[in-house]
């Protein structure tokens, strides 16, 4: 794992938790949305907090798809689930939601799961060891770059 890849995973965590928090804050201002009045859900986008939350979630999506291009789905999801702790802290101290002890224990268990998966390999399907599918030929002019990708994966 290179520093750039850790930063991408950190981006997934940060954008997802801050985006969810802003969405929640905005939706509480908008009020309950019922199935009978779906247009009111579209109006929710006019709320600035909802709009900003959506922007942050777009940042999450960019980091997430980037991470999925070089790591397993079952690695990316738990490795970035440390965001639940962030969400709980934001919900408690910014949104002033009450969080009971059992819910804090649940968050602790989820965090322990992160530790388990993060210490393992990031990719188990090694059919394309240079990170590219067969449809793209090897780049002979960039041997150092491809060697770097291969070795970082072997280390992780």
């Amino acid at each position: 794992m290179t520093l750039r890849r850790y930063l991408v995973l950190a981006g997934v965590t940060f954008f997802a938790s801050s985006g969810d928090s802003l969405l929640s804050y905005g939706m509480k201002q908008v009020g309950p949305v019922s199935v009978q009045h779906l247009p009111s859900m579209i109006l929710a986008f006019l709320n600035p907090w909802v709009a900003l939350g959506i922007l942050l979630l777009l940042g999450f999506f960019a980091c997430y798809t980037s991470a999925l291009s070089w790591a397993d789905l079952t690695y990316v999801l738990p490795a970035t689930s440390v965001g639940y702790v962030l969400v709980a802290v934001i919900a408690r101290f910014v949104l002033h939601e009450h969080i009971p002890t059992t819910r804090w224990l649940g968050i602790l268990l989820i965090s322990a799961g992160v530790g388990f998966v993060a210490s393992g390999p990031s990719r188990t399907d090694m059919r394309h060891p240079n990170g590219l599918p067969k449809s793209i030929p090897e780049a002979s002019e960039e041997p150092a770059l491809l060697a770097g990708v291969g070795s970082s994966r072997a280390e992780s």
Partner: protein, 126 residues
């Protein structure tokens, strides 16, 4: 009734998220490492390569359904329940789906992680 609406929202999020995650993951493996591709082709060609992938487009559609379900759930329940419960149950569903559809090696380490997360979700729903 709010509880029922909250859990219906969570259920919708989980189902559509698992489908979306699996499709997106499959698409991005077909595309290749975007950092390597970006250096070789440039950003625009990489973006074009991603958005022309059919799995990506279907993944985007199911992710959109998941997003609307999340908005629906959040308007009924607390963020600290809806967001982690939906995402964690999605994670467990993904462990099964990734093994079946993506042929990932979901080993003991990853199953333990799945069980820890599932336990965490159970505690949070009490």
């Amino acid at each position: 009734m709010n509880d029922i609406y909250t859990w219906i929202g969570i259920g919708l999020v989980v189902f559509s998220s698992v489908a979306g995650d699996v499709l997106l993951s499959k698409a991005m493996k077909q595309v290749g490492d975007v950092a390597v591709l970006r250096r070789r082709m440039g950003v625009m060609k990489v973006v074009a390569r991603v958005v022309s992938n059919s799995n990506f487009l279907f993944g985007l559609l199911t992710m959109t359904i998941s997003f609307y379900s999340l908005l629906y759930g959040l308007s009924w329940g607390d963020l600290s329940l809806v967001a982690p419960a939906a995402a964690s149950l999605t994670f467990v569903g993904n462990a099964v789906a990734a093994r079946i559809f993506l042929h990932e090696k979901v080993d003991t380490r990853r199953w333990i992680a799945a069980l820890l997360v599932a336990g965490g979700v159970a505690l949070m729903a009490v």
